[in-house]
């Protein structure tokens, strides 16, 4: 426990806290590169090289003119980047000291909202009607996917009997790191499938990408962002992507050391990308109805199975 009286400066832990967001961003950008390559191959194109997103970010940060819309705009962008970093600090990775023992699932589910909210704040003061429309859609979608996602998480919590993510991860690894028989995807499969569908909405991939919706509403939240601000948006998207995937793999796929979680995240992301590439975009009302119908009902059934068995 953190005790200010005999607070020890733990250099290793501090370094690991510093390292995690940087690692998450780098991996998230790599995932985006993989996604662009994958979608190109499916379209029968060659596609950009894997390091394309890194070049994009460097270019965006080297732009000579950057348009700001006041201090809320600046702060919102920073808050957006801080949210997923905080979330990553609370996710347990074997052998990596971070803040996971000091927070539980409730904290993580709250930190999940900080990042998108920061970006929404920046987009809302950005004076672009498309941006405001994107924010409205993003908030609506948030209501849509949080219900099934929370219910799926609740099923895990009911099964595990604890809110502590460290214990949930340890419980799944009790049969061995590579043995999936104790993973919650196997123990509460119905709820896990519901959570998986909701994850698509959490990540904002098609068919749930109404908040960005390129060429429909400009690019939604991103419409007014350019130069460094768009660069920050990219870093946020990358970090947020990795944090969400890591959370899901720790919750349902057993977690493990950082490299293993990264591999599991990649596996989840490739599935999500394939769905993204093959689906079109739903209308906001259709997407909302879909999220509150199938995954929610599935998650409820999963929860019932856990509670009454």
């Amino acid at each position: 426990m953190i005790n200010l009286n005999n607070f020890q400066i733990n250099v290793w832990a501090a370094l690991s806290l510093l390292f995690l967001p940087i690692y998450g961003t780098a991996i998230g950008l790599l995932f985006m590169g993989i996604f662009r390559r994958l979608s190109a191959r499916i379209h029968q194109r060659y596609g950009p090289p894997l390091w394309q997103p890194y070049a994009d970010v460097i270019k965006l940060f080297s732009k000579k003119s950057n348009f700001s819309h006041g201090w809320v705009y600046d702060l919102g962008v920073i808050m957006g980047l801080a949210g997923p970093a905080l979330m990553l600090w609370f996710i347990p990775f074997n052998g990596l000291p971070n803040m996971a023992p000091y927070g539980d699932l409730i904290v993580i589910l709250y930190t999940m909202v900080i990042g998108p909210l920061g970006m929404a704040l920046a987009a809302a003061v950005g004076a672009s009607p498309w941006g405001v429309l994107g924010v409205a859609r993003a908030l609506g979608m948030m209501f849509g996917y949080e219900l099934p996602f929370m219910l799926a998480v609740l099923a895990v919590v009911a099964k595990a009997g604890t809110l502590r993510l460290t214990e949930i991860a340890a419980m799944q690894q009790s049969a061995g790191l590579w043995n999936p028989s104790n993973w919650f995807y196997a123990l509460v499969p119905v709820a896990a499938v519901a959570g998986h569908i909701a994850l698509q909405g959490v990540m904002g991939e098609k068919p749930f990408d109404q908040a960005i919706a390129p060429h429909e509403i400009g690019t939604g939240i991103m419409t007014e962002f350019g130069g460094k601000y768009l660069g920050m948006m990219f870093l946020f998207a990358a970090l947020n992507l990795f944090a969400e995937l890591a959370l899901f793999s720790v919750l349902f796929l057993g977690g493990g050391p950082l490299w293993l979680v990264t591999l599991k995240a990649l596996f989840l992301y490739v599935i999500a990308s394939l769905v993204d590439i093959t689906y079109g975009r739903f209308r906001p009302d259709q997407a909302f109805a879909l999220l509150w119908k199938w995954p929610t009902v599935l998650a409820l059934i999963g929860l019932m199975i856990v509670l009454f068995s």
Binding site: R36, A40, H43, Q44, R45, Y46, G47, P48, P49, Q52, A55, D56, I58, K59, S62, K63, K64, S65, N66, F67, W130, P214, H215, G218, T219, M222, T223, E224, F225, G226, G227, L230
Partner: protein
């Protein structure tokens, strides 16, 4: 200086373009960006809004009405920015040279980096221009955007001569 070279090199690998598609040339854009020619393998990607774009591709003739929008969009793009004029219409008027409501030369109003001649240029020509622009950016030669600062009086004078003295105040988008 070395640092700037490095940045130029990276920038040339990632150019996002915004296409202004009111002219006939719009029809050449789909083959350029989709699986036929696939410019994305060079890091060139179509973007939806001016704030995100580096390249401004003007595909064909500009009327007095659309030129105003083009100037506004150009000014909204973050620097460095590059303009490609596609087709003969923005170069010298093309077949609309004597029309009552199109302009004949784009570079009187905003600085242009590259011209693609032809009526209309095929997707191969667009690819060629994009690769040429990429080379220019890498060498630090695509500097037309600086002219808009240095010679703003010139561009402003031409804009005002065409649209009237206080067109910016009068215009609503």
């Amino acid at each position: 200086m070395e640092w700037a070279r490095l940045i130029d090199k990276v920038t040339s690998k990632s150019l996002w373009m915004m296409m202004y598609c009111t002219g006939c040339g719009a029809i050449e854009m789909p083959p350029t960006v989709t699986s036929r020619w696939d410019v994305e393998r060079f890091g060139i990607m179509p973007m939806a809004t001016p704030r995100q774009a580096d390249i401004f591709l003007i595909t064909g003739y500009l009327t007095k009405k659309t030129l105003k929008r083009v100037i506004y969009v150009y000014e909204q793009m973050p620097e460095p920015k590059y303009v490609i004029a596609h087709g003969s219409c923005p170069i010298d008027g093309g077949i609309y040279y004597d029309s009552y409501n199109t302009i004949n030369r784009l570079d009187l109003f905003i600085p242009v980096d590259l011209y693609i001649q032809g009526c209309m240029p095929r997707a191969e020509a667009v690819m060629d221009a994009l690769l040429k622009l990429r080379e220019m950016v890498e060498k630090g030669e695509a500097n037309a955007w600086q002219k808009y600062h240095e010679n703003f009086e010139y561009y402003d004078k031409n804009q005002k001569a065409l649209f009237g003295e206080n067109w910016r105040a009068v215009m609503t988008l």
